[in-house]
């Protein structure tokens, strides 16, 4: 067993373990903190696949940004440690049906897609230069459109906050 393989199984085991904790913890804040470690270890998968830049973006955006916001939000929630308001309070019947339906769709997709397999692992090298070139040459229009959308969302958020204050 070589080193990447060893680390893959390590990451996979740890991530699944954290996912179980996130899903079944009776304390919302424990779930939120565990989600951080889950997202953190997800970056390990990207690094193993050769996506060095993607791994760092995962760390920065999901673990460092979104999850910290999520924890802030959870801290502002009352009674985080109440079991009846946490993961255990789900609608049994509805959850069963939606879960079964979702899994069925996923399975169907897995079955009917032909997954292209590489004969051998692709040459893994630094990806940052290629990503930069693609973003600023081939995909410059989508890139600009998305950044414009984000600016619009930011302006919108500021407007919502300001409007709330005036009322």
């Amino acid at each position: 067993m070589n080193l990447p393989e060893l680390f893959f199984y390590l990451f996979a085991g740890v991530t699944v373990g954290f996912a179980v904790v996130v899903a079944f913890s009776t304390n919302l804040l424990h779930s939120a903190f565990t989600l951080f470690f889950l997202l953190f270890f997800m970056a390990g998968f990207y690094a193993l696949l050769g996506g060095d830049f993607l791994a760092m973006v995962q760390l920065m955006v999901y673990a460092g940004g979104i999850n910290v916001l999520l924890i802030f939000g959870t801290m502002l929630t009352a009674d985080v440690a109440q079991p009846e308001r946490s993961n255990l309070s789900f609608q049994g019947v509805l959850t069963f049906f939606s879960g079964v339906a979702f899994t069925a769709v996923l399975l169907a997709v897995f079955e009917h897609t032909t997954w292209p397999l590489l004969e051998q692992p692709a040459e893994v090298g630094p990806t940052t230069i290629d990503i930069g070139k693609l973003l600023l040459k081939e995909y410059v229009l989508p890139f600009e459109v998305i950044s414009f959308l984000l600016v619009a969302a930011m302006v919108g958020a500021i407007m919502v906050v300001k409007g709330g204050k005036e009322q």
Partner: protein, 405 residues
């Protein structure tokens, strides 16, 4: 180091694993000893700046004070506050140490020694701070104390806020080097000050200041130490901690000074580059790099003990209303500068040398001012021999004037 183990005839997997382990052991011991010694140095420097003596009893000049402190903290009772979330309460300090220690993976030790020269090194350095944020939030919440919770929230908000100017402040250097790799960033600079990114052009200098200020805020030091403001929050997120867990927080805090210093030295102050006539000596490069790092650490201490603390709203305003727009100015300015001087090495030379001359001018002016202050302080205030008694004469004159009137 990996080749060393390979030469011994060990298999590839084992040798790379052993190399990682050796690096980790070396670095964590360096971090622990550095943080300890710095805690003593910082107190001595602070004492000097405030005309006090500072710790000077344990060992010559008190140099062993940090060992005594460490032993004291380990022997102290470890108190769990009532209603604390025990597991998270115990985990938080070590997460913070992990967050600081993890940055050492990409920190260089001179031009030739880097534990792991990642292709995305500087990005890794910025994003691994997330561990520190989580550690602080966890400590704040798990303590079951209002001070700790508020301190933790503030601190996390502060780090998230100042992460943006810090990252934006690093961008001009990344643009000039054309790489995110620590080794490339250092190699793109030269040994002489006018070849450093800090003096490359006015915009790079601006980004250097933004980066340094933002780094101070990220390491929660005065003037940005609101999370631990004694007058408002007791000790912030580590109010409830005692014993070894408290020592772990101090370890992270003082270890962070090295991280800030090393990144400053590597990205803006020319790293461990040596002039050509000195050859390629790894030891000499390490010495140069360490000297620059320690100078940046001294700057951190200097700022900490000379400035008062911000108010919370001023702190937020400062980041969002001043530092962020300035960071954008530096970013666009650097882009325009690179476009204009792309083909003319002459213009680049003139601008960087000019920047360095301006810096020297400021330095001389500053030194003159400091010398003046030192001279005035040297003359004892109450002795008749000093020329500071002079103010007595004008009063005589005014009395004489009053009499004549």
């Amino acid at each position: 180091m990996e080749t060393l183990f390979l030469d011994l005839g060990l298999p590839h997997t084992l040798s790379s694993f052993l190399a990682m382990t050796v690096w980790a052991v070396l670095l964590i011991h360096f971090l622990a000893i550095y943080a300890g010694v710095t805690s003593w140095v910082e107190r001595r420097v602070a004492a000097k700046m405030q005309s006090r003596v500072g710790p000077n009893r344990v060992g010559p000049q008190g140099i062993l004070q940090w060992l005594a402190d460490g032993v004291k903290l380990i022997l102290k009772e470890s108190i769990d506050p009532e209603g604390a979330d025990r597991f998270m309460f115990y985990l938080a300090p070590f997460l913070m140490v992990c967050g600081v220690f993890a940055t050492f993976v990409v920190l260089p030790w001179g031009s030739f020694i880097i534990p792991a020269d990642l292709n995305v090194g500087i990005l890794y350095l910025i994003s691994i701070t997330a561990l520190v944020v989580i550690g602080i939030l966890m400590a704040g919440w798990a303590s079951n104390s209002k001070w700790a919770l508020l301190g933790g929230m503030r601190s996390a908000a502060q780090i998230v806020t100042y992460e943006i100017p810090v990252a934006m402040g690093l961008l001009p250097a990344i643009m000039a080097a054309g790489s995110l790799q620590m080794g490339h960033l250092m190699a793109a600079q030269g040994w002489a000050p006018w070849e450093w990114f800090a003096f490359q052009n006015p915009f790079a200098a601006l980004s250097f200041f933004l980066f340094f200020i933002g780094s101070i805020a990220e390491s929660n030091r005065i003037p940005f130490d609101l999370p631990e403001a004694e007058s408002e929050l007791v000790a912030g997120y580590f109010t409830e901690y005692s014993g070894f867990k408290f020592a772990a927080f101090s370890l992270a805090e003082f270890g962070n000074t090295w991280v800030v210093g090393a990144v400053t030295a590597a990205v803006f102050l020319g790293g461990g580059n040596l002039p050509a006539f000195l050859g390629e000596s790894a030891i000499l490069s390490l010495v140069v790099f360490t000297a620059k790092t320690l100078f940046a650490v001294f700057l951190l201490m200097w700022i900490r003990w000379t400035l008062p603390r911000f108010r919370i709203d001023q702190m937020m305003d400062f980041s969002w209303k001043y530092m962020l727009p300035l960071a954008f100015v530096a970013f666009f300015g650097q882009a325009i500068y690179m476009m204009l001087t792309y083909e003319s090495a002459m213009a680049q030379q003139i601008i960087s040398h000019g920047m360095f001359l301006v810096f020297l001018l400021v330095l001389f002016k500053f030194t003159g001012r400091v010398m003046l202050n030192v001279r005035e302080q040297l003359s004892p205030v109450n002795s008749p021999a000093s020329d500071l008694v002079a103010p007595a004469q004008p009063t005589v004159e005014t009395e004489a004037q009053a009499v004549t009137e």
